[in-house]
């Protein structure tokens, strides 16, 4: 059998009309042409029987030829047109077509290891109390540039320090029992129109409904996306703002401590408190050395980040850690600003919701393809 094909047995052993398979792998993509081939080849190289799973690629209105690449290796390709609706929406469309008892979500820039999917299936089979299992990222990033490595290790730090039962479901690759996914209400495509915290929100719902959601530090995947400082800031801004505006900081920090926003913001609290105290003191007693006080706050910030810096030293050496320190402080500043913006928006406007047109279409129950974003049940 050639890669990417599902052989049709002339004896009819593999019945196409059979509606169930052990696993459906759903890859949601949006302009992922640079990485998609590697991602799909990695899935095809899994140590699973080729007739035990299907690959469904859902293309979220890409403009870079991702569909053509998907056609080479996938069993089913779903082409969503118009405006991009987000990975949650795309994955929901994939699940609607899936035949697997278990569905695994793989991002369009995440390469699984040969044993990742089979071990996920084994984990679910051996642990009836676990309904969802997610893989954590490995130390290597597909892209070799400094920012990609900084970002990859930052997320890995969070995942390594807070594994186990938590709401961090499928940050790049995760598997869930299909019936549980559907009964939990699927991804919230109403509020999450961009790649953001839809997985954390789903994870929280799963935990709330009494399902087990495991973030495994032993299951590993490689993230291939190339990051630059602009993309990192955009990502952090989007996640932090939505977290503060829609999900609630305190609530989510308890159920999803590995989320990168918490890794970034936890260390800000002591430094912010010190800086606030110094500024308050300066209101009464004119400070002789303003710069010294700011420097002191920065030192405190670096000290509170010490576990992370030590992690960077261990992973990439002292020079890398030294280079990452100022970048990290900058990213933390973006996080703090975004969190404040989110809180302000929450009190001024309320929760995030789709545009007026989408809301109106949804209100009248218009049925079109691709479907209007649905409210969570």
């Amino acid at each position: 059998m050639t890669l990417g094909e599902r052989e049709i047995s002339t004896s009819g052993d593999y019945a196409l009309t059979s509606r169930t398979l052990p696993l459906s792998v759903i890859v949601s993509v949006r302009d992922a042409g640079a990485t998609l081939r590697e991602v799909l080849l990695a899935v095809r190289a899994s140590d699973l029987r080729t007739d035990s799973y299907e690959i469904i690629v859902v293309d979220d209105a890409s403009s870079d030829g991702s569909v053509a690449i998907a056609a080479r290796y996938a069993d089913t390709v779903v082409k969503l047109t118009g405006r991009a609706s987000g990975p949650g929406y795309a994955r929901n469309r994939g699940v609607e077509l899936a035949r697997g008892d278990v569905v695994a979500f793989v991002e369009g820039d995440v390469a699984v290891r040969p044993d990742t999917l089979s071990r996920m299936l084994a984990t679910l089979a051996e642990n009836p109390d676990v309904d969802a299992v997610s893989a954590s990222r490995d130390a290597t990033s597909g892209a070799r540039n400094f920012i990609s490595q900084y970002w990859n290790l930052l997320l890995r730090f969070g995942e390594q320090h807070h594994p186990g039962n938590c709401a961090q479901f499928a940050p790049g690759c995760g598997a869930i029992r299909r019936r549980v996914f559907i009964s939990a209400g699927m991804y919230d495509e109403w509020r999450f129109s961009t790649a953001c915290l839809e997985s954390v929100e789903l994870g929280e719902r799963l935990l709330g409904a009494g399902h087990g959601a495991l973030l495994s530090s032993e299951l590993k995947v490689t993230h291939l996306k190339e990051w630059n400082i602009g993309l990192v800031c955009q990502e952090v801004w989007g996640r932090s703002r939505l977290l503060a505006r829609s999900l609630g900081y305190s609530r989510m920090s308890a159920v999803a401590p590995s989320e990168v926003v918490f890794t970034l913001s936890r260390a800000l609290i002591p430094a912010g408190a010190l800086l606030g105290t110094l500024m308050l003191a300066a209101a009464f007693v004119p400070p002789p050395h303003v710069r010294a006080e700011v420097a002191l706050a920065l030192v405190v910030l670096v000290m509170t980040n010490l576990p992370l810096h030590r992690f960077y030293v261990t992973a990439r050496g002292f020079r890398f850690a030294a280079m990452s320190a100022p970048v990290h402080i900058f990213v933390q500043t973006v996080t703090a600003t975004a969190l404040c913006t989110g809180w302000v928006l929450r009190y001024l406007i309320g929760d995030a919701s789709p545009d007026a047109t989408t809301q109106a279409y949804s209100e009248v129950g218009l049925e079109i393809w691709p479907p209007i974003r649905r409210r969570p049940r």
């Binding site: 050639t2 990417g4 002339t10 009819g12 196409l16 089913t76 082409k79 691709p370």
Partner: protein
């Protein structure tokens, strides 16, 4: 265009399928071939205006010396639902083997002929460029038993 419940036409004369022949694939890139065989006017018509339900396509890929069981293609079509309308594209590398029965069962089967030796992946990509469906299912044949 073929309806899923098509057993009743088993004994009718097979209709002449639309055949798109691709010559000299080795000398052309897949992208070049895709431009050359741009979607037809009928296919473009499909994309005008909103639709209530997604269009579906089924691509059957036959590499050189591969065959497909018509039963399984029909089963696959039935799996999509009796009322569903599905475009079926048969993409072949070289002359297709034993597709008469399939032609009988599937009305308006679109056949895409590529030169012998065209890889399965290239066939899939070429067929996808011709598929008008929003949901496209891809199947591959099995080696012919001599």
């Amino acid at each position: 265009m073929s309806s899923a419940g098509v057993d009743s036409i088993l004994f009718q004369e097979p209709p002449s399928p639309p055949i798109v022949a691709i010559k000299d694939a080795s000398a052309q890139s897949v992208a070049g071939q895709r431009e050359r065989y741009a979607p037809t006017a009928a296919a473009s018509e499909i994309f005008r205006g909103p639709r209530r339900t997604p269009r579906k396509s089924l691509i059957v890929v036959l590499s050189e010396n591969h065959v497909v069981s018509p039963d399984l293609v029909t089963d696959s079509l039935l799996g999509e639902g009796v009322d569903e309308v599905v475009d079926v594209i048969l993409a072949c590398a070289g002359p297709p083997l034993g597709i008469t029965a399939l032609q009988r069962r599937v009305r308006d089967l679109q056949i895409l002929l590529a030169p012998a030796g065209t890889s399965t992946e290239d066939l899939r990509e070429l067929a996808m460029s011709q598929a008008s469906g929003d949901i496209v299912t891809l199947l591959s044949g099995s080696p012919a038993i001599a």
